[in-house]
Structure formats: C-alpha cells, structure tokens
C-alpha cells in the first residue's frame, strides 16, 4: 500500500489533523464574511486563542476546558473589532490588520512564563480497537475529538446557512444591509454576533495548534495560518464544504511535500510549496470567468459599514 515510499493512509490521517486549525478559522470567517464583514484579524484571534487555550488547559489540567478558553479568548478579541467597526464605524480592513498586530503583541506579552510547559494531552477519542482497523481505522477513527468537531461544524454551518431562518437573515445582512434594515433586522447586532462567532472559531483553531498539533507555547506559534484561512474562504467562494476541501488541500500539500522529501522523491520542494497558492489563483480565475459581473460569489455588502441614518 505504499506509493513511492509514502503510505496514503497515514498521509490522509495526518492531513486531516493538520488542517484542523485553518479549517476552524476559515469556517468562522466564512460566517463573518457572509454577514458582510471583512475581518482580516484572523491571525490575531488565532494566536490569542492559542495562548488562551494553552493557559486555561495548563491551569485546569483539562484540554476540553482549554479549547473553550481558546474560543472565549478569540471571541473576546473579536469584540474589540466589532466595537470599532460596528459601533464606531471604523474601516474594516485597517481595523482587521491592526487586530492581527495587536493579537500577536498581546500573546507575546501574555505568554511570558509559559514557554517550555507541556499542556495536558488531547488524546484519541475512540478506543484503539477501532483505530487499529486496517485503512479506515487511522483515517476515520484514530483522531482526537476536535477533528470530528471540525467536520461536524462544516456540516452544521452548511445546513444553517442554506436551510434555516438564521442563515437567511445572515445572508440578507451580507448581501444588502439596506434591505435587511428595511425589513426590521438589527444589522449591526447580527454582524456583531457573527464576528464573535468567527472569533471563537479562530480562537479554537489557534488552541488546536498549541494544545494538540505542536503541544506547547512559543511566541508566534500560528506562524501565518490565519492568512491561509482567509485565502481559503475566498478559494471556497464562501461555501462551507468547499472550505473543508480547501483546508484539506492546503493542509494536505504541506504534509505531502514533507513526506515526499523523506521518501526521497525527485520533485523539487519549491513546486509543491507553491502548489496550493497556484491552485487558489486558478480556481478564482475559473470561477470568475464563468459568470459575468458577479465575479466569485462574494457577499455584495462585504467590507461595507452600515449605519441606519444612511
């Protein structure tokens, strides 16, 4: 079952775990952007979540509480963004970038003294008997609970956005905030809740890096994952299942190129490293070529602030 020295079963199992942080963050950002808000602070919220989750897990000894703490920390930071953009109507792009810088700085300060501590372990969810089954065992049953949670969230968000009243309201606010306002929806309040949700998801994604994937705290631990999450949202044209595909593609290629190197393949590293980005560009071109004018399915009010007086 090996191809060129690489076992595809282990590869798939590894990429599912390594894609979790960007998947969670990108899902959260999808909801935020579907409500018409462009929050570029994903990286900042992720790293705050990574720190918050780590601190809570170390203090309480419970990784589950850690993930909740990470989500709370990410949501708390995103509320600063919500306050500035929804109440004071600050520019979303500038505020989002500032949020990233702020998050990186605060996490570096708050993380002093947490270097070199080992967090409680986030173990595999299902019993070994299942995980040891050939082929499907490692892929389907060998993960920790967060991996299953991330897939579950993809399904839930897809259903909520597509088939529920809440989803309809979120989309209405994102497509035309004037119309949504005229119908009596509180545009800014709905957006605020979406931002907080996005922050919680990003924070949880960050917590997965510091609690499960690397398990430790070091400064700058997310190292740009938030930006990849942002790219995936566009890549996926704001649809949850495509976000999952995008996250697995990005995560998968990173894992694949490292594995190919170990296996001694002749493909140069550089080509594999740039592959996900090339594919993103390709997908964007193909999607926008298909429908004239409508570009790539971005929410029509994306990035615009709303005030009832206008």
């Amino acid at each position: 079952m090996d191809f060129g020295g690489i076992n595809p079963v282990i590869l798939i199992a590894t990429l599912m775990a390594s894609a979790v942080p960007i998947l969670l963050a990108a899902l959260g950002e999808t909801v935020v952007e579907r409500s018409g808000v462009l929050n570029l602070g994903v990286e900042g919220m992720m790293i705050i979540g990574a720190l918050g989750g780590f601190v809570v897990a170390v203090q309480t000894g419970s990784p589950v509480l850690g993930f909740i703490g990470g989500a709370a920390a990410g949501a708390a930071l995103s509320l600063i963004f919500a306050l500035l953009t929804q109440v004071f109507l600050a520019n979303q792009v500038a505020t989002g970038l500032a949020l990233t810088l702020f998050g990186l700085g605060v996490s570096s300060l708050g993380g002093q003294g947490y270097n070199g501590i080992k967090p409680p372990r986030t173990g595999q969810l299902l019993p070994d008997a299942l995980a040891d089954l050939p082929v499907i065992g490692p892929i389907l049953f060998g993960h920790d609970w967060v991996v299953y949670f991330s897939i579950l969230m993809t399904a839930v968000l897809w259903w909520v956005l597509k088939a529920t009243r809440i989803g309809l309201i979120i989309r209405a606010v994102g497509e035309s905030h004037e119309a949504a306002h005229a119908l009596g929806y509180k545009v800014n309040r709905i957006r605020l809740m979406c931002i907080a949700f996005g922050g919680a998801m990003a924070g949880m994604g960050g917590a997965y890096v510091s609690l499960a994937r690397v398990p430790q705290w070091v400064d700058g631990i997310t190292a740009g994952a938030g930006w990849i999450a942002l790219a995936i949202v566009v890549f996926a044209s704001w649809k949850p299942w495509r976000v999952l595909i995008g996250a697995y593609l990005f995560g998968g290629i990173t894992v694949l190129q490292l594995n190919l190197q170990v296996a001694g393949s002749g493909i140069p590293v550089e080509y594999l490293s740039m592959a996900p980005y090339l594919i993103t560009i390709l997908v964007l071109v193909i999607m926008s070529a298909g429908r004239k004018g409508k570009a790539n399915g971005a929410p029509a009010s994306l990035g615009q602030n709303f005030h009832a007086s206008r």
């Binding site: 590894t14 400064d219 190197q261 296996a263």
Partner: protein, 361 residues
Amino acid sequence: MKRRNLLASAAMGLMLASGAFAQGMDKVKACFVYVGPIGDGGWTFQHHQGAMAVQEEFGDKVEIQYQESVPEGADAERVLTQMALGGCNIIFTTSFGYMDATNAVAAKFPDVKFEHATGFKRDSANVSTYNARFYEGRAVEGVIAGRMTKSNKIGYIGSFPIPEVVMGINSYYLAAKKVNPDVQLSVVWAFTWFDPAKEADAAKALIDQGVDVIASHTDSTAVLAEAAKTDGKVIGFGQASDMAEYKDGPRVTSIIDNWGPYYVKRVGALLDGSYAQQDAWEGIAGGEVLIGEITDKVPAEVKAEAEKLRDDIAAGTVHPFTGPIKKQDGSDWLAEGATAPDGDLLGMNFYVEGITGDIPQ
C-alpha cells in the same frame, strides 16, 4: 520638520560615534537584531542570553537595545538604518539572511560597528563576522544517533539549504555512519527558521516513515514536542538551547549556543579601544558550542563514547571532517588523513557520499 529631525539625529549619531573610537568609549550602546521571538526557546533565546550577559558584565556602561522577529530582507535594512541613526555603536545581526542588509547599511555608517552572525561577507572595514563550529556538536549527536537507532533510519530537519546547515547534515551523517555502517539519513527541508506547526509536521513525516532519531536545525522546541508524542520510541536533540524541559522525554542531549563570552569580549573591546575587524569561528574548544547533559536514556558506553569525541574535538586531536571522504557523486573531497579546510566548510554545497537526495538549489 520630520526630515530635519532625522538629519539632525543622523549627524548626532555620526558625531557621537566618530569622536569616540580612537581611545575607547565611556558608554556603548549595543544593539541586537533577532530573527525570531526571544520566547522561541532556541536560537534567538540564546542570543538574548548573550545580550543579557553583556548587560550584567558592564552594567551602566552599556545600553542594550534589541528588536525581535525582524524579517530577513528589506525590513532588516530599515531596522538596521534605524538603529544606526538611533545612536547604536555596535550592532549584532544574528541570522544568516541579514548578510546583504548588514553590509549595505554598514557601508553607509562607517563609524558604527557591525557584527554579522554566521555570514562570510565583510565588505567594509566596520563589518566583522562571527560564527560557532556547530558541526562539532553535530558529530557528537551523530555518534549517539548511530548507536541509538533501532530502525537504522535517522532524520535531520533542515531549515534552508545554506552551507551552515549542509555542514551540520554531513557532520551528523559521517559520525553516525562511522559507528553504524547500516545507518540511513533522511533530510527534510522546512524552508523556515521558525514555524512550530511546520516543524512539528516535518518531524511527524519523519516518524511516520520509521525514523527514530531526529536532529533539527530549526529554532523552536516543536520537534521535541512531536517526538514526545511517541512515548519514548523516538529521540531527539535540543537545538541551539538546552531545551532541558524535554529531559525526561525525547531529548537525550543538546547543542547549546553560548554567545555570551563573545558578546562580552567584543563590547569590552569597544569600551577599551582595542576593537578590530575580525572573522571569529570558535567551537567546543572556545566554549561557544556546549554539549548539554547526556541523559540516562543513553547507555553508559555510548555516553562515554560521545563524551570522548567531544573532548577529543575540544583538544584538537579529532576533526569531524577527516579524510578519506568522498562527495555524494563519488568524486574525491578529502584524502586519507586530511582535514577539511575552513573555506571548504563555509562554502559547502554538497552532500558527502552515502546521503541520498539532492540539496534544493
């Protein structure tokens, strides 16, 4: 107004600097540029320890300034210019990638001293370079790797394909091969100095393919954290810093970069006026490379063998690159008994015979 301020402070900086060098200085402002955060627990952490040692040694006579996580490239040049304008007398740039920026800025500020770590370009008289012979430590690690591996597969996580790293890979492999002729080396290039998640992924890729001893040339402790997940099946080494928190886990020994003595010496020379341009390259003997405590996981005879190699290298009786050694393509490099000249090491861009794979160009 702004521009005038800038020019004025530039002029002041130059005056301050130029007035002082002939006969030593009363007070030195020493500045450090770091490639990662101090909290990385490895490379940058150790440089900062060195900076702290300077402060401790000279107290009020030295002012320390530093900037963390400075990207290699155009940003580095801006940071260096800022520091030179801000009155720094000596600037330590602590990563290979700052080489061109350091030389470019140094040419504009002839009265500020620049010290570039691990580089080889000294374009103007005020640029010195300093490095440590980390490959000596790699040889000690290689002995342990060769003796400890059960699968006969050992791994090395490289950062960038530069001579510094290639040298480490070759030294590690040669030492392992000497004690265990069946050993096979897998090299993974991470193309980053610092990205904990990617470093962990690289370690996982090696472990998935049966590697059970991993050396790393990246800056964080993520590789050891990943190895720790295997419950003792895989061992690794502390890199740049002792990483002692993994002592009861996978870390069996470490290479510790000890920059303090060098920094104290250079800043001291600036204070007493004996400063001169130089190219420093010290190793285990000079105390710049320390081998961390070898843990009990390593059997006593292997530990003794590794310690003997360390002591022999320190005494100068053993050189990790001693012939006969062939290059990967089978051509001759070192003849029987010959040791590698420093020039060959500093420009090393080839694997030695027996290592598979290519160095990315």
